[in-house]
Subunit: 386 residues, 2 copies
């Protein structure tokens, strides 16, 4: 027989200090954010768990949240330190909304979650840009597949915002059957690419519009490889011949769902390609222009215009339904049917001082804010030696 | 015993010739329309009735229909004459969509409709600008109240387009309870005034916006007399203080229904006053500007934008439901709870020649098209001596 040490001895969570990317008041990311180091977490109180973040992405909405212009606000954290920033006297906001974490300790009364379980966040704005946090059992959703089953860390870390948005927009507004067509603009956005992939899984055909660019043929190839039925530019969209082309492709079948993350003319133009009783679902406004549509589309063609916000969906749906959705997405990911986004990890190393780490974080977020990073950036925060 | 002649002898419908306002191809109302005189109707075939129009309004959509730019198209009539215009060889479009008629003769197999019954049109674009027409029993809905019960001809003639639109917009998109608030622009439109009155009957509060004008205080008094809770101008609407005022009036209760017949800024501004999970329903675009709304209202406040078109509602709902609605509206009208629109009757006299009558019709429609008639104009066409 092999002699095995009690697992508890190998847990080092209590031996290492933690780090978090925090802010105390809203402002530009290059000024508001800093990194603090704080003491190891105490054992979790009843019905809570201590989790250690593996990877946590920078989403565009995180920047708006830190700037204070996002409708979903984090609560102040006062349990990081016994004194100074993050303490009861000086509570802080821990940044980050999405992330993959591993359970490192469970409190009394917790069932269904054990040490080593991978979890994603259910509660919005938990503050995922940190090493370890103590959270309620209902703040997380257990992943059915762990790393052993081939789900990558990047998959797990980017599961609760974009893939859920893509899935639910295809599912919530209209009953689509195999062979039905949908149309979208901003098709090369993170969500747009997931829409293409999930539509393909469901047997739906997609007409995808993107901005014209130098390397257009590469992008078209990439989207087609993901499963896009048609990929065109906004120049094609505004051309009079588009109506005839679409009719030819669909065999005259009405398109009844359009997904919009751009606004302005690229939104109006896809709405005009829809048939009667169709739904236009907006989840972004990258052009920063309003959604401007002819009233006649609403009156005579019975267009309905909706918005989709995963945060609201999450609030309005049961944990059971959310866990089932996460399960479905995780399965598709392990089957290779849903790609993880192109990404780069930004590691905050153990040996980085708080000052160095703060500069690194601010500089990265500045580049993201300026749109200079084509890939999804994921934070990997290392614990700090005690 | 009193000797009574068989009623049939007193029917003079077969002794007088008919007239209709017709067009043979789409064009401007001042050129396309003319009046023709045609032979008396033969007795109605089985399951049809002969009706005689009492009054028929000019609605804005009639002008668009004649111009050929309205989505609801009439069919050609080929049963007016045995030769010439309106015959099988030269079918014509009879203009007019709405109207009040009296049954003058019933075919075999018709039940529930007798001579003297007042009916309104169920089928769109029947061609109501005429003296007598032969129609199917399902083309009409019987009015439960006749003239003896105090329903005026003007009420009956203007029942199936505007009052139904107002009623259904308050009924179809959201469950409103007594004390709830709604908001509308173009509040002095025909539909807007009906919305005010029906809201009052239902115990709903209304915030009503109108264009500023010289006789504003008169208009405000008129709308308040109809039951408007608040009447303001678009200048008030664009003023920053409006948010606070509305909150004070509603006691902070969310407004969840906005009705829009203007588009452009007056539509966006009322949408911004709505609470979460609200519905913006558009039934017109008097400003001719598109419906332009911030995407954030859709995403973060879950605004849904719909259109309402009574023609579609009518197509999608059962005859039973439509008859019940007409019954409810007629009852409110006889109770004095719903006013007939301000109107003037335009009589085409028996002694007017076709040429004179044609000039009269064209001239009236020109004035309506130019917005020079403040009142609803209702056609009263007299039969012509045989």
């Amino acid at each position: 027989m092999v002699f095995s040490l009690p697992k508890r001895l190998f847990s080092c969570s209590s031996l290492l200090r933690n780090r978090a990317i925090i802010y105390t008041s809203n402002g530009p990311v290059t000024q508001a954010l800093s990194i603090i180091t704080y003491q190891p977490l105490p054992p979790p109180p009843p019905n809570t768990i201590n989790i250690k973040f593996i990877l946590a992405p920078i989403n565009p909405a995180d920047l708006n949240t830190i700037e204070g212009v996002y409708p979903s606000k984090p609560s102040l954290s006062s349990n990081l330190s016994s004194s100074g920033k993050g303490s009861k006297d000086e509570p802080v906001f821990v940044a980050g909304n999405e992330g993959l974490a591993e359970v490192v300790d469970v409190g009394e009364g917790v069932s269904g979650l054990e040490k080593g379980t991978w979890v994603v966040m259910d509660k919005p704005q938990v503050g995922t840009w940190a090493t370890s946090r103590n959270v309620g059992v209902k703040d997380v959703i257990r992943l059915p597949f762990g790393k052993l089953n081939g789900l990558s860390e990047a998959h797990g870390a980017t599961m609760t915002v974009n893939p859920t948005t893509a899935y639910n927009m295809l599912d919530s507004f209209i009953q689509l059957s195999e062979g039905d067509w949908i149309i979208q603009n901003g098709a090369n956005s993170a969500v747009g690419k997931l829409v293409i992939q999930i539509a393909k899984i469901r047997g739906l055909k997609t007409i995808n519009f993107v901005r014209s660019r130098d390397n257009l043929s590469e992008l078209v190839k990439e989207l087609e490889k993901l499963g896009a039925t048609k990929v065109l530019t906004y120049d094609d969209l505004y051309d009079k011949s588009i109506r005839g082309k679409v009719k030819e492709w669909t065999g005259g079948k009405d398109i009844r769902l359009a997904l919009n993350c751009v606004g302005g003319e690229p939104a109006a133009a896809i709405a005009k390609l829809l048939g009667s009783n169709a739904h236009l679902v907006s989840y972004g406004a990258m052009s920063k222009k309003p959604l401007s549509l002819p009233t006649s589309l609403f009156i005579f063609k019975n267009l309905t215009s909706h918005g989709f916000w995963q945060t609201r969906w999450s609030k309005e749906n049961s944990r059971h339904k959310k866990a089932a959705l996460i399960g479905t997405l995780a399965e598709w990911m392990t089957q290779g049917k849903l790609k993880a986004p192109d990404h780069e990890n930004l590691t905050i190393f153990r040996h980085d001082s708080d000052e160095e780490a703060t500069q690194k974080v601010r500089e990265t977020l500045r580049r993201v804010a300026e749109g200079k990073v084509g890939k999804k950036v994921l934070f990997k925060l290392e614990d700090v030696n005690a």
